[in-house]
């Protein structure tokens, strides 16, 4: 479940101290962080909003009033009303149902591609930061090269090369996000690597792998959780932008980006066809951004602003 990704990292660590508020126990740092999290207004608002968006997408088959791709020639471009909450599109399809269904793909693309980017980026970042020397130089130069392609252009180049399909869309969005994770992870590793406990671990004979995974990785998770959460917002936008351009998920499969593209043609006559899918994207992105901002406030005091 996407919303549990950021929360569970802290929650699992906090599990032994299950009740931070219980008297007679010293709260653990993780417990304190968790308590701050559930009290942070933007975490609460963002988390709730994101949960609603996710639930709506997951429950789409049961709660959507109409089939998302069934056309109804008698009711094209009907304005929002009692029968169709968000109106109908040019084929008479119910926009509300399509928004619910569209979320399934848009959100999946967002979450999976961040997963891809995090997995690749963190591994490369850990290796670069820990190994240093030639390995680091090769990885970082490659990353710099990827960053030379501005914004959505890298994803565009990947799609141009691999062709457009759902898996390729996720790969494209994922690849274009990798540099950020590599840089953050490497920076954090360089910072942690110098500390005494890493030296101590080496002195007692820990292998590199154990040092990396057991001692360094846990210490860089806080910034990563923040970046990954905010990254979902960016991935949702990039994914739906590619679909909007016709390079991602193709109609008639409902996806927020391609719905917006279809609605664009009727903007002057039927604003609702494009307005609501866009609103859905914005709600999802806003939710993730609020959640990420809150997480950053609580987990990563260095970034506090």
């Amino acid at each position: 479940m996407p919303p549990s990704i950021p929360v569970s990292t802290t929650a699992s660590a906090a599990a032994p101290a299950a009740a931070p508020g219980r008297p007679g126990r010293t709260p653990t740092p993780a417990g304190i962080a968790l308590r701050r999290l559930v009290r942070h207004p933007s975490v609460v608002v963002g988390g709730t909003l994101f949960a609603i968006v996710i639930l709506a997408a997951v429950l789409a088959p049961w709660i959507s009033p109409y089939a998302p791709i069934r056309a109804n020639q008698r009711a094209p471009l009907e304005p929002p009303g009692a029968a169709h909450l968000m109106g109908t599109d040019r084929f008479g399809r119910d926009v509300f149902s399509r928004v619910l269904w569209g979320g399934r793909l848009s959100l999946t693309v967002g979450v999976v591609s961040v997963g891809v980017a995090t997995a690749c980026g963190v591994t490369l970042g850990l290796v670069a930061g820990y190994a240093g020397h030639g390995t680091e130089a090769v990885i970082m130069r490659t990353i710099e090269l990827l960053q030379a392609f501005p914004g959505i252009l890298l994803a565009l180049a990947v799609i141009a090369t691999l062709g457009s399909s759902l898996p390729n869309l996720m790969i494209a969005v994922g690849i274009s996000a990798i540099p950020e994770y590599v840089r953050i992870t490497r920076g954090a590793v360089l910072d942690v690597k110098q500390r005494e406990f890493v030296l101590a671990a080496r002195v007692v004979g820990c292998r590199d792998r154990a040092i990396l995974l057991r001692h360094i990785l846990p210490n860089v998770t806080a910034p990563l959780v923040v970046i990954a959460t905010l990254g979902i917002a960016g991935a949702i936008i990039t994914g739906s932008a590619l679909s909007f351009l016709g390079l991602g998920i193709r109609p008639p499969t409902p996806e927020w980006g391609n719905m917006l593209a279809e609605g664009r043609e009727f903007l002057a006559r039927a604003w609702w066809v494009a307005f609501f899918p866009g609103l859905a994207i914005m709600a999802a992105v806003l939710a993730v951004n609020l959640l990420g901002d809150g997480l950053r406030d609580v987990l990563d005091p260095r970034f506090r602003g």
């Binding site: 392609f149 959505i152 351009l245 903007l267």
Partner: protein, 307 residues
């Protein structure tokens, strides 16, 4: 300073070479036979395919092919588009000014908006104005370019009829796309300016300046703003990248000619030389702009010493 500029410029050479390697490899990473990209989907015999492969030089070793490609690039030759058979360079040069115009207009607008919003919020820290400004900013950060474009179109073109919806031309054709493109960046900048200002305003030298009797406005202008703007300059380079990328979407929505739209159309038409050319030019422009930003950064911040 000159030495720094020279060194920094030298650093971009390997990046430019890397970019050319990536755009070169794109062709060879396409699943299936690259010959099909040039010959289209029409059926052909193995002999015909081999003939085309030979004619295009695709049967030579990869290194030789790259040498050839790089040689042409150095002479400014980006190949010919498959559809129009025009030189890719001409197609790009034709639309590049429109993209530059759009991106720069958006950058100027984003900077102005972002600075105003961020400074206002920082000076009004912990008041309703701060909360409101940051509320607007997070909405702005969460707004995809294609949605802001559509909303602006809906409101200013279709509802009020103030501005033309699509096409190119005078200033009135630039306002909506530039605004749509600028919104996200201005929100990012506003948040950055605000936190930068808040950090600086807490410094002792600000208190000192105020204590010796300087007016608040003067302290903000002379002492706080200058230091708060340093991270903003770095951000401008990054934002320009985001704007160049965003132009892809904006140009498509507003049916403006431009590099982004050329790239998208090329991908949709599977016109590979044109795809390679547009991607290459966008990346090179971005790298060169960042070079300029870095130099500007060194010029502005006296604390940075190079070399």
């Amino acid at each position: 300073m000159l030495r720094y500029i020279g060194e920094r410029a030298l650093h971009t050479v390997p990046v430019l070479v890397g970019i050319s390697i990536i755009t070169f490899l794109m062709l060879h990473l396409v699943p299936g036979d690259p010959v099909l990209l040039f010959a289209g989907d029409k059926p052909m015999t193995e002999e015909q395919a081999a003939a085309i492969r030979h004619q295009l030089g695709l049967d030579r070793p990869l290194l030789v092919q790259y040498e050839d490609y790089a040689g042409h690039l150095l002479r400014g030759d980006l190949g010919r588009a498959l559809r129009s058979q025009r030189p890719v360079r001409d197609s790009i040069l034709e639309v590049l000014p429109a993209t530059v115009q759009l991106t720069l207009a958006a950058l100027a607008l984003a900077t102005a908006l972002g600075l105003a919003l961020g400074i206002a919020a920082a000076l009004a820290h912990r008041t309703w104005l701060d909360t409101a400004a940051m509320g607007v900013a997070i909405l702005g950060v969460s707004m995809p370019v294609f949605y802001s474009s559509l909303l602006l179109l809906l409101f200013f073109s279709f509802t009020l009829g103030w501005l033309p919806a699509t096409g190119e031309g005078g200033l009135d054709h630039l306002i909506l796309p530039a605004t749509a493109l600028a919104l996200v960046s201005s929100a990012v900048l506003a948040r950055l300016v605000r936190s930068g200002m808040l950090g600086v305003l807490r410094q002792d030298y600000i208190v000192t300046a105020r204590a010796k009797g300087l007016s608040r406005a003067l302290v903000v202008r002379r002492h706080a703003l200058r230091n708060a703007l340093i991270p903003v300059i770095t951000m401008l380079g990054l934002q320009l990248g985001a704007l160049l990328g965003g132009a892809v979407v904006t140009e498509t929505i507003f049916s403006r000619p431009g590099l982004g739209r050329l790239a998208v159309d090329a991908i949709l038409n599977r016109d590979f030389p044109l795809v390679q050319g547009t991607v290459l030019v966008a990346a090179v422009v971005y790298v060169l702009v960042n070079l300029l930003v870095d130099i500007a950064y060194a010029a502005v911040d006296p604390r940075i010493h190079y070399g």
